[in-house]
């Protein structure tokens, strides 16, 4: 099968405009005849659902949460990019495009990234109109700050709660359509399978998380906006419920999984403190605007940070990357932190941490200004560690944060399965091998507000949809399959809890497929995961009732899917014999920096599921670069 990205012809700047003109439209009076299922209510899902409904489509919106507002987009802290050039510092659509494609280490499609940069300005306008209280200056205009991988200030923010405010904007737009009866919201439903009918995605099977009933819903198209798979590592900055089950089960129904090995390790998180730990907490990248990262020059220095004089500190990012300093992209900052700790310069009890110090900024700007900018983050840090970052530098260490990989989609955001669209973190499309800060919110909202509402219309207008009945055998067999998996899990009656399996998987992934990967470690991971899968399906212990609230059976399915996804992630990493962005193969480096192999690997890996316990088949989508030249990324 040849993967057709459907990138329109013509010059880069004109592609999206001419494509929009060429897309077929659904007459406004006919839109109410169509039904669209949207799974997930984060930034991408809420904005898409609201926008579809405003256009006149009927929308069924699903979430495993009680309310759309609980989706994990809510936790994004730092900001959202747009090349408004309000700061008068030379920003432009072209520059945001260039920074993003370079930041992704030249492993994303030019056309997608350009479109993202192009529509990002409208997102800010849209959000302001919705009442998102972005930070403002004293004249009343919008304020900006800087993020990693950029030398301009283009990040819009609402204190340290930008994701919360953007999501509330999208959530409110969604609620307005619920009130208009254009959206039906289904709370506490987890998607467990995809219904295909005549080769098209036509519905989903969900478990009602309150009464345990298995329900089916049908429509004319299905949109997955179900987020990333960072929890495959057990500990991550993702929320506890964040999982890959929706995209994984769609994958098992034929949707290709692209670039699973591109995972982002965020450099500034609060370090692990104990075995009971259930998650890691991010400290926003925006802190690197005013915080300086350092370690003692002496190995195993036991002095308190404020007892170490200036000339005995190594501000290693400023030393190694004088032009970007503390604002190098995430992959580089993380790798350097790991390296410096592995070499024995780490700080804190576990020695797996570096300092992020605000003392200079507090001197320069005053405590009040720092408090205004980062107050909630400082409070959060103090709450968790019982240390006051106004007086003592923060201790930080990298943690899994975001996954650039996801289901393969074409330029229209449709997977290789007709009628199955994938948006936000759940797809693979825009960030290449490394995502720059403040770009996730941008992509989620671009997909939902300004891209999919156009492209989904083209699909609906181009296809004919046969009637589909809940009694059709195609639906019944999918529903049966879901029920069988659940019964099977209950019947194992083993000894080991789901959480223990998840922890074991996390250890395998972090140690072998984490910040540094090698042929040896990846083969090791694949073997261990295979073993773990067998153990899981013979020894997992499920308690509680099938037809009631039951967190154990919910999580068991997520972990079962993570185990399979973990193996594919390692397989993809093994196949990609180069280092790029967040994918660092220890065999391929130059001077500690990632060394790409453009000749052999300038392609998207798209994996096809071939059956249980069978090897997945690799398809390659070649990436063409017509507008930027592929160079060794340099932030020095």
């Amino acid at each position: 099968m040849i993967l057709d990205s459907k990138i329109p012809a013509g010059p880069l700047e004109k592609k999206w405009t001419s494509h929009r003109f060429n897309l077929k439209l659904v007459n406004p009076a006919n839109r109410r005849k169509y039904k669209i299922i949207v799974v997930g209510t984060g930034l991408a899902g809420s904005s898409a659902a609201a926008s579809f409904a405003e256009l006149g489509y009927n929308v069924l919106s699903f979430s495993y949460h009680e309310s759309p507002r609980r989706a994990h987009s809510i936790a994004a802290q730092g900001g959202i990019n747009a090349p408004k050039n309000y700061a008068n510092d030379g920003d432009s659509v072209w520059r945001l495009f260039y920074d993003t494609i370079k930041g992704g280490d030249y492993r994303a499609r030019e056309a997608n990234v350009y479109r993202l940069a192009e529509v990002s300005g409208s997102i800010i306008d849209q959000c302001v109109a919705q009442g998102v209280p972005f930070a403002r200056d004293y004249a009343g205009y919008l304020d900006n700050r800087s993020f990693g991988g950029a030398q301009v200030s283009r990040t819009f923010y609402a204190r340290g709660q930008t994701g919360q405010q953007l999501l509330l904007g999208a959530y409110q737009a969604l609620l307005r359509q619920v009130n208009e009866k254009k959206i039906t919201f289904f709370p506490r439903r987890e998607m467990l399978d995809l219904i295909l009918h005549d080769g098209k995605a036509r519905g989903i099977v969900v478990r009602n998380l309150v009464n345990g009933k298995i329900e089916t819903y049908t429509a004319d198209a299905v949109v997955l906006a179900t987020g990333g798979y960072g929890n495959v590592f057990y500990l991550s900055t993702n929320a506890n419920a964040s999982n890959a089950t929706a995209i994984w089960r769609a994958h098992k129904r034929g949707a290709f999984f692209a670039n699973p090995c591109y995972t982002q390790i965020h450099p500034t998180c609060i370090p692990v403190s104990g075995d009971y730990q259930s998650k890691l907490t991010l400290m926003s990248e925006s802190l690197r605007n005013d915080g300086r990262i350092w370690v003692p020059k002496k190995k195993n220095d036991l002095r308190k940070p404020n007892e170490i004089p200036e000339n005995e500190r190594d501000y290693y990012l400023e030393r190694l990357y004088p032009s970007f300093g503390n604002l190098v992209p995430r992959d580089i900052a993380s790798r350097r932190a790991k390296e410096i700790c592995d070499n024995g310069f780490g700080v804190g009890e576990t020695k797996m941490a570096v300092y992020l110090d605000f003392v200079d900024s507090i001197k320069r700007l005053g405590k009040e200004t720092i408090k205004q900018k980062y107050g909630n983050l400082f409070d959060m840090y103090k709450q968790i560690t019982a240390e006051d970052p106004y007086n003592v530098p923060m201790r930080i260490y990298p943690a899994v944060h975001y996954t650039m990989g996801g289901l393969w989609v074409d330029y229209n955001l449709m997977s290789n399965l007709p009628g199955l669209f994938v948006i936000g973190e759940a797809n693979f499309s825009d960030h290449g091998a490394n995502r720059l800060g403040a770009s996730a919110l941008m992509q989620g909202l671009a997909d939902g507000y300004f891209i999919l509402p156009y492209t989904i219309g083209n699909y609906l207008a181009s296809e004919k949809f046969g009637k589909i009945n809940l009694t059709d055998s195609s639906i019944k067999s999918v529903k049966n399959n879901v029920e069988e998996i659940i019964s099977k899990l209950f019947n194992i009656k083993g000894k080991t809890s789901v959480n223990e399996f998840h922890k074991k998987l996390g250890k395998i992934m972090w140690n072998n497929v984490g910040m540094g990967r090698s042929k040896k470690s990846l083969n090791e991971a694949i073997n261990q995961i295979k073993k773990l899968k067998k153990e899981f399906w013979s020894d997992v212990k499920i308690v509680g009732e099938k037809e009631n609230v039951n967190a154990v059976i919910e999580k068991a399915q997520r972990v079962a899917d993570f185990i399979e996804l973990g193996e594919l992630l390692a397989t993809d990493a093994l196949n990609r014999q180069e280092s790029c962005g967040g994918h660092f193969r220890e065999e391929f480096q130059f001077d500690g920096e990632a060394m790409r192999n453009d000749k052999k690997f300038t392609y998207v890996s798209a994996w096809e599921f071939k059956g249980e316990n069978k090897k997945e088949k690799l398809h390659k989508e070649k990436l063409e670069f017509e507008n930027v030249s592929l160079t060794q990324r340099s932030y020095k």
Binding site: S47, E54, H65, E66, S67, R69, R70, A71, H72, I74, A75, Y86, D125, Q126, V128, A129, Q130, G131, P133, F134, A135, R136, D137, Y138, G140, Y141, L142, F156, A158, R159, Q164, Q165, Q172, A173, L175, R176, N179, F185, P187, A239, N240, G274, Y276, Q277, S278, T281, L282, D379, M380, Q383, I384, S497, K541, V543, G544, E545, N548, V549, A551, V552
Partner: protein, 245 residues
């Protein structure tokens, strides 16, 4: 440390609930409160008992999913934090901790500590928004907003919708929650256009959902994990009177 827990167990909405005692050893002071419950649930699984159901997700105080009464206080001891941000260093060896769901007529229990807060969605659904459609919007800087207003709006917009205000209130009033949304939108020029209609509709829906009236005890402000101020309630009252003139 060792702790005695008295936890509210209730099989479902129509079942009768009761407190069940659990003993838990080896609690580290660095654990979060929810991690302590995770450990207890793992022990229950070992004993083949049903786990304690509770809502939680982000575990960093922003999603608003978690929240229960801990020793009679919404989100437990301390101020300005959600339950997930409470750490065990706030307790001492040998303590007895009473854990029960947020109680209000508008928040029916689903199971154990898990409650149904969909009433909050229904309140906002009738008008807790600015009716701006996607697209056709002028440049973001076309609407300058006074920094003070923007900051006050943001203070109110920080509400996470957890319901602690309702749980803390002797009348189960949702005034702090509603007023936070009214302030968030009403303080901004974009939001003023629909302000009168919004206030009337939200207040009517709040009554419909069986939340009580405000009697100025300020318990809501004291327990709010985002420290939303009761001045928002004053603003709501002002807007409400104006809207009805």
């Amino acid at each position: 440390m060792k702790l005695n827990l008295k936890v509210w167990r209730q099989q479902n909405n129509s079942a009768k609930g009761k407190f069940v005692n659990y003993k838990i050893d080896d609690v580290s002071e660095h654990m979060s409160f929810l991690e302590m419950l995770d450990v207890l649930n793992e022990e229950l699984i070992k004993k083949s008992e049903d786990t304690i159901a509770f809502d939680h997700d982000c575990r960093e105080g922003i999603c608003g999913s978690c929240g229960f009464m801990i020793n009679g206080r919404a989100h437990g001891p301390g101020s300005g934090i959600a339950t997930c941000q409470l750490h065990m260093r706030s307790f001492k060896d040998g303590d007895t901790i009473i854990i029960e769901p947020f109680r209000a007529e508008g928040f029916p229990v689903i199971k154990d500590l898990m409650i149904d807060r969909s009433a909050f969605d229904r309140i906002l659904q009738v008008g807790g928004y600015i009716s701006a459609k996607t697209g056709g919007i002028p440049d973001g800087n076309a609407i300058p907003i006074k920094k003070e207003d923007s900051d006050l709006s943001m203070d109110a917009a920080a509400c996470i919708g957890c319901g602690a205000c309702v749980a803390a209130c002797p009348n189960s009033s949702a005034m702090l929650f509603v007023s936070a949304k009214i302030s968030h939108l009403g303080l901004l020029p974009q939001g003023k256009i629909e302000n009168d209609e919004r206030v009337i509709k939200l207040v009517a829906q709040m009554d419909e959902e069986k939340f009580g009236s405000c009697s100025n005890t300020y318990a809501c402000e004291a327990e709010c994990p985002k420290e939303i101020s009761v001045t928002n309630i004053a603003r709501l009252n002002k807007y409400f009177i104006k809207a009805n003139l």
